[in-house]
């Protein structure tokens, strides 16, 4: 029983990383209509400045974290201005944005390999406390607490921003009809830029936390988040924050228990089997709304 509960705790931490990533991914998809397959590489590029600043400049972790989040946000902004906005202006549709996103993914991945080199590494020893805390007999590494706090901050902050602010309302509106946003005096280009920055910054946050949680800094650190985050978005419902959280955490817990009690071999099969099941049975996800088109 103790082992089961300990693995549940592990799964909750892992799932919180998936949830954070899924929130950012879903934000872009729901409000910009972009299936941004480069989001995993953006997460990696949130990790890279954080790693470089702690390793070479010996910056404190918190400052490096902020730099990583902002750095990833800037990359998202650049991608929006140079790639996605031109497509939108031409009404290129989702296929065009996917193709461009693949290009951005390849560029970011190759640049990450150039910057980090071939040798996997880790955040410098002592960057963040690694010795687990003993809580009621269970081992909880401090980074787990950070992951949960980060998820809470993202969820609460984003929910309040979207629901309670005028700009948040504009973000929700722009996904339906960009012109409607102009009517209320908000430039849709600004709205899209803010969405792109926020989504990428959230991905960057997930990237930094993943690097600390897994003790792994490599060009493919963010790739593991991409597929699981996508699954969480589909299962939870596109653009639904609550759904992304529940699905992300659910996937993390499912993975941990599968690896413990079945085999690691089945881990991804079960996760993506669940994804397939939802696509077949409930494609709108747990909390999404089914849209009906009339001929």
């Amino acid at each position: 029983m103790e082992l089961l509960l300990q693995q549940l705790i592990n799964g909750l931490s892992l799932g919180s990383l998936y949830a954070i990533f899924a929130i950012g991914f879903g934000l872009v998809f729901a409000n910009m209509g972009i299936l941004n397959v480069a989001q995993g590489s953006v997460a990696t590029w949130g990790m890279i400045p954080a790693y470089l600043l702690t390793y070479y400049a010996h910056l404190p972790f918190w400052l490096a974290l902020i730099a990583g989040v902002v750095g990833a946000g800037i990359i998202g902004l650049i991608a929006e201005w140079l790639a996605f906005k031109p497509l939108r202006d031409r009404n290129a549709g989702m296929l065009g944005s996917i193709i461009v996103a693949v290009g951005i993914w390849i560029i970011l991945l190759n640049l990450a390999e150039l910057v980090l080199g071939p040798n996997p590494t880790a955040m410098p020893e002592g960057t963040f406390p690694s010795a687990p805390l003993d809580v009621l007999g269970f081992q909880i590494p401090p980074v787990f607490i950070l992951n949960w706090l980060a998820l809470a901050v993202v969820v609460v902050g984003l929910s309040v921003f979207l629901a309670k602010t005028r700009f948040g309302a504009a973000i929700r509106a722009v996904g339906f009809k960009p012109e409607a946003v102009s009517i209320v005096g908000v430039d849709p280009r600004v709205v899209f830029s803010v969405i792109a920055f926020m989504a990428a910054a959230i991905a960057g946050l997930a990237g930094v936390l993943t690097a600390v949680s897994t003790n792994n800094v490599s060009p493919i650190t963010g790739e593991g988040l991409m597929l699981k985050g996508f699954a969480a978005v589909v299962i939870g419902g596109f653009g639904n924050i609550r759904g992304a959280v529940i699905a992300g955490i659910g996937i993390g817990v499912l993975e941990a228990l599968t690896m413990q009690y079945l085999s690691s071999t089945f881990r991804d099969a079960i996760t993506f089997g669940l994804l397939l099941l939802f696509l077949l049975v409930r494609p709108q996800g747990i909390f999404g709304e089914l849209k009906v088109s009339r001929a």
Binding site: A83, I107, N110, A122, N216, S218, M259
Partner: protein
């Protein structure tokens, strides 16, 4: 479909350019052009195993420089073309076929076992002499077309057997857990040998834990191991992943012994595991501080060319290229693939970069010497164990 804007085209073109540069295929000419002997090398220069692939390639290139500068092949020089397989078996096979169609005299391949599986059949079909440098997949050697001047660590009585015997004798080990990379046949075969050796010494192997090459999070596996609380944990995984798991174990208060395949021996692994690696035991097939003349030459030339000391993977690439060169020399000037294949079959001994002389039996290197067993120290140095 409406045309893309210039910026979109630029993004796509940049991506294609970068991807093309990273995964450039071979563009060699015939087997020998004038006095230039063309050799191909399929090797993971990027991707999840580039940490081994890059030094392997560098070792091979150091060997090429030595061979050409010393006039080892008389008037002929070697031109080595390296293709980046990215650790992808499908790409590796495609690149190998490309080298075959381009008419290279020989190929160096197989840095990892997952790439190596199909090469035996390919080499036999193409009748292309191939030297495997790092894959530990059993049965890969297949003369006259595939040779492996790499001592298999999992040979019965070999490196891992010697480490298992020493650990059990010195450290009073009664229980163990073995961790393997389940989608790497070489790692799985190595793990099976560890298990067989430990079991034969009366050790109870509590569990074999599977991980995968793409895994980066080992929290669940580490928690499982801690709950089992074995005397010894053996890692038959890639070095950086072993280091990550060892750090996780030490962070969670595990005080038992840790032993690993030699992948954990390279200096870059210290960047991952740090002081948590203290006490981790491993076999050391190559050390740059060995006092053999072969090692001193290799280390000096490698350092001059790359600015760093070579590790055991650099030695693997170096060994593979020199083995091929000795076959080319034995085959004589203007030799074709068939002559090279027969010449390689005739090489019965070969001196490794470590200074050890191995016997080539059925295309496979066999080492009779005792292996060096080492451990990591808290300050990042290595010393003999026990």
């Amino acid at each position: 479909m409406k045309p893309f804007r210039i910026a979109t085209v630029a993004v796509a073109a940049s991506a294609l350019l970068l991807a093309g540069c990273a995964g450039a295929g071979p563009d060699t000419g015939g087997e020998t052009t004038g006095n230039v002997i063309k050799i191909g090398m399929v090797n993971p220069m990027t991707g999840s195993v580039a940490w081994a692939g890059v030094p392997i390639a560098q070792g091979a290139q150091t060997a090429v420089k030595e061979i050409n500068d010393s006039g080892f092949l008389g008037d002929a020089t070697i031109e080595l073309t390296i293709s980046d397989s990215e650790g992808d078996p499908a790409k590796a096979i495609s690149q190998y076929k490309g080298f075959d169609s381009d008419g290279v005299l020989g190929v160096i391949c197989c840095s990892i076992s997952s790439e190596a599986g199909s090469f035996a059949q390919l080499a036999a079909t193409a009748q292309l002499p191939t030297v495997a440098n790092g894959a530990t997949l059993a049965g890969l050697n297949a003369p006259p077309y595939i040779y492996r001047p790499l001592v298999l660590p999992a040979d019965p009585g070999g490196m891992y057997s010697q480490v298992a015997e020493a650990v059990v004798a010195e450290a009073d080990v009664t229980t163990a857990v073995v961790v393997e990379t389940a989608d790497n046949e070489g790692n799985v075969a190595d793990a099976n040998q560890w298990i067989a050796d430990l079991t034969s010494k009366g050790v109870d192997v509590l569990q074999t834990i599977d991980t995968f090459q793409a895994d980066t999070d080992f929290t669940v596996a580490v928690t499982n191991i801690v709950s089992l609380d074995p005397d010894l944990v053996v890692f038959s995984t890639q070095g950086p992943k072993s280091a990550t798991m060892i750090k996780g174990l030490r962070d969670r208060g595990f005080t038992g012994l840790t032993a690993s395949s030699y992948g954990v021996a390279v200096p870059s692994v210290w960047e991952v595991g740090g002081s948590s690696l203290e006490g981790t035991i491993f076999p050391l097939p190559f050390s740059p501080i060995s006092d053999s003349e072969r090692t001193k030459t290799f280390v000096a030339d490698y350092q001059a060319q790359w600015g760093v000391e070579p590790d055991l993977y650099g030695a693997q690439g170096y060994n593979a290229m020199w083995f091929l060169a000795e076959g080319i020399k034995a085959a004589g000037p203007g030799a074709d693939r068939e002559a090279l294949a027969q010449a390689l079959a005739g090489l019965t001994e070969f001196e490794l970069a470590s200074g050890n002389v191995v016997k080539m039996v059925d295309g496979q290197a066999k080492l009779a010497d005792k292996v060096i067993i080492a451990q990591w120290n808290a300050d990042g140095t290595q010393s003999l164990w026990p």
